[in-house]
Amino acid sequence: MDENLKRSIMIEHYQNPLNRGLVNDDSYKKVNMNSKSCIDNLDYQVKIENDVIKDVKFDGEACAISTSSSSIMTELVKGKTIKEVENIIENYENMINEKPYDKELLKEANCYDEIYKQPNRKKCALLPYEGLKKILEENK
């Protein structure tokens, strides 16, 4: 993926985020991710049925990296089983931390594969996956 394409994907998901906007529905589990080291403040909602992620929503105020990465994450995990999602999270974290990972699995999220060059933006790219992990943990 060339640099311009990566940036275009991020901008597209930042300006037109998918699954943005929370729902008033108790069947969703909710978590707030208020980054300690920066000003990102996002809420995530996940609906889990029979070990499958049925739906994911997010909303809040945050930078272009964490907003776009939230949008991409929601599409990436929807319809997947918890096991599959855990595998996606692990691979995504490996990518961010410059370890070997499965490119195929991460689709558009590959656009963050060089975020390590901006170390203080890594936490922004990781924020949605941290939120998702928290919800999966609480679901156990």
């Binding site: 940036r7 991020m10 000003i39 105020e61 945050a62 930078c63 272009a64 990296i65």
Partner: protein, 398 residues
């Protein structure tokens, strides 16, 4: 004087515009700290041998220097702490907690730093005193008129920063103290953003308590000051007990504390830091605090004039005379602006700047803040302007 020669950090290619958070350190400060560790690394108050006596003498010298810097009546009114935060906690919990009764009122504003607001909240809960906010004007500044309007017979304390750290407005402290004292009110001033940048004269302004930090004025981290008028400072209860602050104790729990200021300085102090702070004051005195202020105002004017010519830049504190410029780039989240500037090696701060309740008044939650000090240059500002003169800031921040 060559700032580039004196400040090692200025030799890097970084443009440092976050001087409200902390300032860079000159060689004289850095050298003094290592001088302590290399040549007279002894504890204070152990006058039995020469190098300890040297430490005591130097400690007193810095205490007197601090006293002269803010024009206190005596060096005994200067207490060393770990920083403004500890100083504020010490005076609020060690004095106001006992001083206030139920329904007494503490006046402050919504523009204050967490280090002032949070201890106030805690003692208000404990004493059932009330925290009240003086109205700010639309431009977020504080007028004497609004102070007067907020005072009533229950007002016992006014606690404010001299200069706020978000928009940098200068409060009329002398007038506030005069009015407060006529009404039996004690005034606590957080000078963290003022003492490093303009003349603060506790005697002339008649301030009761003043707090500030060394690291925001060329000194090392971990050193701060609590100034208090002797009549009030002597009533501050030590929050930390131990060595260095007691005069006597026995097994029957009879305890006697030392006099001021040692009474409030339990344990081994940050000696190397305090001595380094002395050199920081020397450096500031050599330039002259009034010249420092003048230079900051000049730099800000230069910066604001150039920023105003750019499209899409919103400045929140154009007309306030000091080195703080609070701004946003229209349509770009503050964090992304800072990430973009970071790529250009320009350091600015984003966020709510520890004044979380100000967003209730400001209307925007997050801003970028560039804060200048005397060693910043017009060349650096030109590079900053060149970076901001770009329609693709969001794109290039990624």
């Amino acid at each position: 004087m060559s700032f580039k020669e004196d400040f090692p950090m200025l030799k890097s290619d970084i443009i440092y515009f976050d001087n409200c958070a902390t300032t860079l350190k000159p060689n004289s400060v850095i050298d003094e700290i290592s001088n302590y560790y290399k040549n007279y690394s002894a504890n204070a108050h152990r006058g039995d041998y020469d190098i300890s006596r040297v430490v005591d003498e130097k400690l007193l010298e810095v205490r007197e220097k601090v006293g002269r810097f803010i024009n206190s009546k005596s060096a005994d009114e200067i207490v060393f702490t770990s920083g403004t935060t500890e100083s504020l906690n010490l005076v609020i919990k060690g004095f106001f907690e006992d001083y206030l009764k139920a329904n007494d009122e503490i006046l402050t504003t919504k523009a204050e730093h967490a280090s002032l607001i949070l201890p106030l909240f805690e003692i208000a809960k404990k004493t059932n005193a009330k925290v009240k906010y003086i109205d700010l004007k639309d431009d977020l500044t504080l007028t004497m008129e609004n102070v007067v309007k907020s005072v009533n017979k229950n007002t016992k304390v006014i606690a404010l920063s001299h200069i706020t750290n978000v928009i940098g407005d200068v409060r009329p402290i002398k007038e506030i103290c005069k009015y407060a004292h006529e009404h039996g009110i004690i005034v606590l001033i957080d000078g963290a953003q003022s003492v490093p940048h303009e003349k603060v004269d506790v005697n002339d302004m008649d301030i009761d308590f003043l707090t500030f930090s060394a690291h925001k004025m060329l000194g090392p981290t971990g050193v701060g000051v609590l100034y208090g008028k002797e009549k009030y400072l002597s009533k501050v209860k030590p929050l930390i007990l131990g060595g260095g602050m007691n005069a006597f104790f026995d097994s029957l729990m009879n305890v006697e504390y030392k006099d001021l200021p040692e009474k409030l300085e339990a344990g081994t102090q940050n000696l190397s830091g305090i001595l380094g702070f002395g050199k920081a004051l020397d450096y500031i005195n050599e330039i002259g605090i009034d010249n420092i202020h003048k230079k900051e105002v000049e730099l800000k004017k230069y910066m604001v004039d150039k920023m105003s010519k750019l499209k899409n830049i919103i400045i929140y504190n154009k007309d306030i005379e000091n080195g703080i410029i609070t701004f946003n780039v229209d349509g770009v989240f503050a964090q992304d602006v800072a990430a973009y500037l970071n790529k250009k090696k320009i350091c600015v701060r984003v966020g709510n700047h520890c004044a979380k309740i100000l967003s209730e008044v400001l209307g925007v939650k997050n801003t970028c803040r560039a804060s200048l000090y005397f060693y910043n240059t017009k060349e650096e500002i030109d590079k900053f302007i060149e970076a901001l003169d770009n329609d693709n800031i969001l794109y290039e921040s990624l």
